[in-house]
């Protein structure tokens, strides 16, 4: 290499690295500044997961869930059960939908012809049907296939199929979001990464994904809010979540007796709980988005 500065200076710099530098490293500063919001986000997720596990533990009989709930007044009890179940469904459907969306979105940008064809078919089919029909269809197929098999819990299996169908519907939308996110990263970015010798995996991890997520985050947040509301559809297959509880309560307490006030009160309460969940989730995602915002990488908005 050249005899000039280039080669000489670099060792010069490195030799001084032994010196005691008190300033925090870049890595440390990134972790410090992003720590707070990450802690809030993870705290929220942890709470939901904990609530879900608590509910699950009671459901499988580790403690007396019914007794614990009976301490609440009757309507409060139904609403609490419903809220817990809705949160529980969220913890399953959201990651599942995202996983499907990510995989198929990535496959949509694949260089392999077959990968693109399969992913496109998935997207069009699962996006082109009302989720409620998808859920009913999935449950039906499961029942037909596994009917008469004593070794499995048919109801649990069918419910699971319904949950997967809902996740797949959302996954089809998320696949399009992920695809657009991947395509939004200019080729110059990957080329530059290649030019400094990064491997394919490093480029994906450190260049493509971080840029893609910043662009996709608002749309993903949108989709999550839609998905939370769509968990109400699981009431049609016996999921004991909020909408199911509302239907149950109004049927038992109000509709038969024609009690108009009570019907309205029950559904407004249910609506408020949904509103609370969607509000918290969308605000959290907005905060995350603000925290990770980078000038010049704003998401394309309508």
């Amino acid at each position: 290499m050249g005899t000039g500065g280039t080669k000489d200076t670099t060792p010069l710099v490195r030799s001084s690295s032994g010196g005691s530098e008190k300033a925090p490293t870049l890595q440390e500063r990134i972790t410090a500044s992003k720590g707070l919001i990450l802690r809030i986000a993870f705290g929220g997720i942890a709470t939901v997961v904990a609530v879900f596990l608590l509910y699950l533990a009671g459901y499988v009989g580790l403690y007396d869930l019914d007794y614990a709930l009976s301490l609440l007044p009757p309507r409060g009890r139904a609403l609490t059960t419903g809220l817990l179940a809705t949160l529980g469904f969220m913890t399953v459907v959201m990651p599942l939908g995202f996983g499907l969306g990510f995989f198929f979105g990535w496959a949509r940008t694949s260089k392999v012809w077959l990968g693109r064809a399969v992913a496109t078919t998935y997207v069009e089919l699962f996006r082109g049907m009302p989720p409620i029909v998808l859920i009913a269809f999935a449950v039906l197929i499961t029942i037909v296939v596994f009917r008469g098999n004593d070794r499995i819990d048919l109801f649990a299996f069918a419910s699971l199929a319904g949950v997967v169908a809902l996740a797949a519907h959302s996954g089809a939308y998320q696949a399009e979001i992920i695809r657009a996110g991947i395509l939004s990263v200019p080729t110059g970015q990957t080329e530059a990464a290649e030019a400094i010798g990064m491997s394919k995996a490093t480029i994906l991890r450190h260049v493509t994904l971080p840029q893609m997520f910043r662009v996709s985050l608002p749309a993903l947040g949108n989709e999550f809010a839609s998905l939370i509301k769509d968990t109400s559809l699981l009431s049609t297959i016996g999921g004991l979540e909020l909408t199911f509880q509302g239907k149950n309560l109004s049927a038992v307490l109000a509709v038969g007796g024609g009690n108009l006030d009570l019907v309205i009160i029950i559904w407004v309460e249910i609506a408020l709980l949904y509103f609370l969940i969607t509000f918290v989730v969308s605000r959290t995602l907005q905060a995350v988005e603000r925290r990770f915002r980078v000038p010049g990488l704003e998401a394309a908005q309508l």
Binding site: I141, A180, L233, S250, Q301
Partner: protein, 296 residues
């Protein structure tokens, strides 16, 4: 080698003909689906005869689904335009102070609260509420399920469409308005000649997407005893004991309406895109993102 070369030649021909390419893709998918159905029928899992006999049964439910969607969508537009106007121009009017501000503030607050309430809660909850309330108010009226269902869908789409219009009106950039003012247009003219035409272009696609979402939401009406497509699937399945066939048929009807319409919307949008108006890429963040989230 020969096969590869000829494959490459075929690909070269297809490369710049997206329409031919999608036709081939759709044809082969349809053939694949037909093959699947035929083989399912062959092993006696489904009965093609049942499907042929009952296809006509789906006609009325399909019309019901479409009618419910069309009516609520149309009524929705009528209500959503003024709501969108209040949402986009309300803040400016309130800043002015005086009597205008006093009149605007409650309107703006009410509209905002309504939109947030609709968008923050599931359509199914709204449908149950409306269906049960109307059921109690008008007991025994046979038209009530359908009318209540349409009302619920209208109230629902109103909230989403109002936001579409707000976004459309707001995204007309200030520089355009300044330009219009600079050549001496009065506020009313600015609105009629600049804001409205530009806004209309910007809202067409989200509005058509909202129609598709609404059509999918109309499937929920089956739960409250409206005899639309989703209801028909359950009815055929339960009463004529061929549930799989019923769901295959109904799914096919939904797909046959939603996919071509979605494609047509996308195609139309690309053809009629005004360079420089709106975003550079057709529909940001992915075509066909569902317009029914919380943040538009």
């Amino acid at each position: 080698m020969g096969v590869r070369a000829s494959a490459r030649k075929v690909w070269k021909v297809l490369e710049n003909r997206p329409l031919v390419r999608s036709t081939i893709a759709i044809a082969s998918l349809l053939a694949l689906a037909g093959l699947l159905l035929a083989s399912l029928a062959e092993v006696k899992l489904i009965s093609l005869g049942f499907m042929a006999d009952n296809a006509s049964f789906l006609l009325v439910p399909a019309i019901t689904s479409l009618t419910a969607t069309m009516v609520s969508f149309a009524v929705g537009i009528v209500g959503a335009i003024p709501m969108g106007l209040i949402r986009s121009f309300g803040p400016r009017l309130m800043k002015g102070g005086g009597r205008t501000a006093l009149l605007t503030a409650p309107l703006y607050g009410g509209v905002t609260a309504y939109i947030e309430a609709i968008r923050g809660t599931p359509a199914l909850v709204q449908i149950f509420l409306v269906a049960q309330v109307s059921g109690i108010l008008f007991p025994g009226n046979p038209n009530i399920p359908f009318l209540g269902g349409v009302l619920a869908l209208t109230l629902n789409t109103l909230g989403y469409q109002a936001e579409v219009f707000r976004a459309g009106f707001q995204s007309v950039s200030q520089t355009q308005i300044d330009g219009a003012k600079a050549i001496g247009m009065r506020p009313r003219q600015v609105f009629a000649h600049i804001t409205l035409p530009q806004g209309t272009r910007l809202i067409t696609l989200p509005l058509l997407n909202e129609w598709l979402s609404l059509f999918k939401a109309s499937a929920l009406l089956g739960i409250v005893a409206v005899s639309e497509l989703n209801w028909a699937a359950g009815y055929l399945g339960n009463n004529r004991s061929h549930p799989i066939e019923a769901y295959i048929m109904v799914s096919a009807v939904y797909l046959a309406i939603i996919i071509p319409l979605g494609k047509a919307v996308g195609y139309w949008e690309r053809r009629h895109r005004t360079p420089g108006l709106g975003t550079a890429e057709p529909t940001p963040a992915g075509r066909g993102v569902r317009p029914r989230g919380l943040t538009l």
